[in-house]
Amino acid sequence: MYKLEIMTRDFGKVNIDENKIIKFPEGVPGFKKEDEFVLLPLDEDSLFVIMQSIKTPELAFITLEPRNIIKDYEFIISEKTENLLEIDSIKDIILLNIVTIKEKVEDMSINLAAPLVININKNLGKQVILDDNKYPVKYKLENNQAKEMMS
C-alpha cells in the first residue's frame, strides 16, 4: 500500500493511502478536469466530510450524508451510472451531498438535486444530477432543525 502526501485546504499536509483515492471519471460539474478526490472526515464526531481534490489543494467540498438531514431521500440510479461506477449492489454505495455555507453555519444550504454517488468498494464516483425537480439545489434547514443541531 502506497502512502501519498497531499496538500489540503483545511488540514494542511495530509498523508493518505493511495487506495483511498476516489476517481470521478467525468469530473464534477464546474470542475471537469478534477477527477481525483479523497474523503476526509472533519473530525471523529462530525457529520461533515471534506471531499478534497488530489490535484488542487485549494479545491475542497464540504459534504454530508443526506440521511443526517432528511428522511426518505430517494432517486433512481441510471444504468449508465451503474456501469460507470461498477455498482453491483446497493451496499457498494455511499451518498454525500455538497453543502454551501456563506455567512453563518445555520444558513447553510445542501444540494439535494445533485448527490455525489460513490462506489466505496471500487473508489469510483459521480455527481448525479436529478432532473426531476423533486429536490432543490439549495435545500435550507428548517429553523428549528438548525437550532437543534447547533445546540
Binding site: D10, L42, K80, V99, N111, I129
Partner: protein, 78 residues
C-alpha cells in the same frame, strides 16, 4: 449549429439511434419526446448550469471557520 424547422409530430434522427419528436406545440412551449440509448444522458440545460454554479459557489471562500462546523450536529447526538 444546425437549425431545423419542424412541425408537430415531425421527428429528427441523430445517429439513427436518437429520435427527437415534436409532441406538441402550445403557445410558447414545445413538448419534446426523446428516445435514446441508455448510455445517453439527457438533462435540461438550466439544471446542469445551476449545479455547476452551486458547486463553484460551494468552494468559494466562506466566512465560517471549520471549528464552528465541528460543533454542528455531531454524530453522538443522533
Amino acid at each position: 449549429m444546425l437549425i431545423l424547422s419542424r412541425k408537430e409530430d415531425e421527428k429528427i434522427l441523430i445517429d439513427e439511434d436518437i429520435k427527437i419528436s415534436i409532441v406538441e406545440i402550445k403557445g410558447n412551449q414545445v413538448k419534446i419526446g426523446i428516445e435514446a440509448p441508455q448510455d445517453v444522458e439527457i438533462l435540461r440545460e438550466e439544471i446542469f448550469k445551476s449545479v455547476e454554479k452551486e458547486n463553484i459557489q460551494a468552494t468559494k471562500e466562506r466566512k465560517v471557520g471549520l471549528d464552528q462546523l465541528k460543533n454542528f450536529g455531531t454524530k453522538n447526538k443522533k
